[in-house]
Symmetry: C4
Subunit: 205 residues, 4 copies
C-alpha cells in the first residue's frame, strides 16, 4: 500500500463493504402463517444464495487487497480498470439472486449462464488489471516487490478466465458440476499464493 | 494499528458502519389511520429491536477495534477469520427482526433460538480470531504489546461462548431471563478491559 | 487527527456517509398516471424532507470533523459517547420522514415533537462528548491545541441543548417558527468557529 | 492528499461508494411468468440506466480524486462546497431512474430536463469548488503543485457548465443527440488531463 493508491483502496473497500452488507437485505423476515421454524427452513435458497455471494465477494476483497499490497503507483488506466472490477462486484448480488430463485426449476439454464458469465467477466478484468499493473512498461508495482511473488500471482490469475469459461460451458451439461467447479475456483483464488504472501509479510518486520 | 492491518480495519469499519446504519430501514413510517402518536407508540417492538441491534453491533465494533489495537500483522488465516466475524455482523439484523416480530407470541422459542445461536457463533469466532492472533506461533501482535493486557482479553473472551451457550439454553426456560443475560453479557464485553486499555493509551503518550 | 482516533473517525465517517446517502431512497420514482411534471411537483414534501435531512447530517459531519481535529486521544467512555452520537445520526431520517408526511395536517404537533426531540438529544450528546474530551481530567485533546479555540467551541455548544429545547417548546405555539429556529440553529452550528478554525489551519502550514 | 484533507476524502469516498453500490438495488429480480431469458431481456432499460449511472458516478469519483491530489488544505467554505457536490452525487440515481422509465414515451421531455439539470448543477459545483481551492487568495493547493496542471484543469472545467447547458438545450430538439453529447462529455471529463496527471505521478517517484 502506498499514499498514491490509498484512496483507490479506500473507495474500493467501501464498495466491497457495502456490496457484502447489502446481501442481507435479500433475506426476508418470514411474515406468512404456519410455525416459524417451518417458514425459516423453507427459505433455505435465500440463505444459500446469501452465503455464496458473501464468500465470493469476501474472496474478491482478499484478492483485491493482495494485488494492491504489490501495487504502489496508479494512473488513469488503472483507475478505470479498477472501476470495471467494482462494476463486477456491485453486480454480483443480482445474478446470485436470480440463480437462487430458479435453481432446480425449468429456467435453471439461463440463470446459470447469467451467473457464470458474471464470473468470467470478473476473472477477465482481474487479469487485465494485474497484467497492466505488473507490466514492465507501466511500472506501477512497488520497487521492493518480490519478482517470484509477482510471477506466481500472474500464473495463478492466467487460469481464471479459462477455468471460469469451463464453468460456463458446464452449465449446459450439469448444473451441480458447474456450481461445484465454481466453488472450487473460489477456494483456489482464496488460498494459493498464501505461503508466499505470509512469508513476505513476516519477512517485512 | 499498523500499515499492514489498516485495510482490514477499513473494510471491517465499512461493514460495521453499514450494518449499524441499515438498521434504521427496519423502522417504517406510520401510514395507517388513527392519531400519529398512537401509531408511533404501537411500533415499540421496532424501536426496541433497533436499539438492541444498534447496541450489539456498536459493542462488537468496540471489541474489534480493541483487538486490532494489539494486532499488528496479518496473514490469510486472519483475513478469513475476520471475514467469518463480519459474516456474523452482517447477519445480526435478521434474527433481531425475527425476534422483534415474535416476542410474546406462540413462536417465541424458535425466534429466541435463532437469535441466541447467532451470538454463540459470533462469540466463538471472536475467540478463534483472538487466540489465533495472540498465539506464540503466529506472532501477529505488536512487539510492544502489554502481555498482561493480552492475557486479560484472552481470559475475558474465553467466557464468551460458554456464557452465550447458557443464554441459548435459557431460551427453553424463560425468554426474559435469556434476554436479560444476553444484555448483561453485552455490557460485560463493552466494559471490562477498560481500565487496562485506558492505562495503556494514557501511558503511550 | 491522530493515529489513535483514526479508526473512530473512519467508522463515524462511514455511518455519516451511509446515513446521508440512504436519504435518497425515500424519494420514490413517480409511477402513477398523469403528466410526469405534475407527479414530480406533487412530491415536493419528499424533496424538502430530503434537503433538510441532508443539510442536518452534513452539518453534523462538519461539527464531528471539527471536534476530532482537536481530539487526539480516546478511551472507552469517548467510544460510547461517540456511539450515542451516531445513534442520533442514524435515527434522523425517521423523524424527518414522519414530519414530511404530516406537515400541515392534523397530526403536525406529535410529528414536530418527535422531530425536535431528536435534535435536543443530539445537541445534548454533542455537548457531553465535547465536555468529556475537553475536561482537564481526561486530557484527550491534542497538546498543541489552541485554548481559545477550545473555549469558543465549549461556549457555542453550551447553547445547543437550551436552544433546541426552545425549538421543542415552540412546537406547541407555531410550527413554522419552530422550524425556522431549527434551521437558524443549523446555520449557527455550521458557521461560527469558522474564523478560528481557518486561522488555525492556515497557521499550521 | 494531505492529513488535513484526509477526512473529507474518506467521507466523500464513502458517499461515492454507497451511491454507486445502491444503484444495483434498482434492478429487480424477475418474478413474472414466462421464460426467464425473455424477462431478463425485457428489463434492458434498467441495465442501461444502471450502467449510465455507474459510469457517471465512477467518473465523478475519478475527478474528485484528481482535484484532491492537488488540494492540500481545507476550510469551512471548501467543506460546504464539497457537501453540495456530494448532494449532486447522492441525487443522481433519482433522475436516472426517472429517465429510464420514461425514455421513448410521451413524458420523455420532462424526464430529460430533470436528468440534464442535475448534471448542469454538478458541473457548476465542480467548477466552483476547484476555482475556490485554486484561487490565489485561499491557497488551498499543495505548495509543490504544477501550475500548468492546475491551469489545464481550470480550462477543462470551465467548459463543463456551458456544455451541460447545451445538453439541456438539446433536450427540446432531440433526446438521442442530448444523451450522446452527455456521454461524450463524461468521456471528456474522464480522460483529458490524463497525460499531465500520469506524468506527474511518474515524476513524483
Amino acid at each position: 500500500m502506498s499514499a498514491e493508491t490509498t484512496r483507490i483502496e479506500a473507495f474500493s473497500d467501501g464498495v466491497f463493504a457495502i456490496a457484502i452488507t447489502l446481501l442481507i437485505l435479500e433475506i426476508k423476515i418470514p411474515a406468512g402463517s404456519g410455525p416459524l421454524s417451518e417458514q425459516l427452513i423453507r427459505q433455505w435458497p435465500s440463505y444459500l444464495s446469501f452465503l455464496i455471494s458473501f464468500t465470493f465477494v469476501g474472496i474478491m476483497w482478499i484478492n483485491h487487497h493482495r494485488l494492491f499490497t504489490h501495487i504502489a503507483r496508479s494512473d488513469d488506466v488503472l483507475l478505470i480498470l479498477n472501476l470495471l472490477l467494482l462494476l463486477g462486484v456491485v453486480v454480483v448480488p443480482f445474478p446470485t439472486a436470480v440463480l437462487a430463485t430458479r435453481l432446480g426449476g425449468p429456467d435453471q439454464l439461463p440463470a446459470l449462464i447469467l451467473y457464470n458469465s458474471t464470473y468470467v467477466f470478473i476473472a477477465f478484468i482481474f487479469n487485465l488489471l494485474w497484467r497492466y499493473a505488473a507490466s514492465e512498461k507501466h511500472q506501477l508495482l512497488a520497487e521492493d516487490v518480490d519478482p517470484t511473488s509477482v510471477q506466481r500471482i500472474s500464473r495463478q490469475y492466467a487460469f481464471g478466465p479459462v477455468l471460469y469459461l469451463a464453468c460456463l460451458g458446464l452449465s449446459w451439461l450439469s448444473a451441480s458440476a458447474s456450481l461445484a467447479l465454481g466453488f472450487a475456483l473460489a477456494c483456489f483464488f482464496a488460498l494459493p499464493p498464501h505461503v508466499v504472501a505470509s512469508e513476505r509479510s513476516n519477512g517485512r518486520n
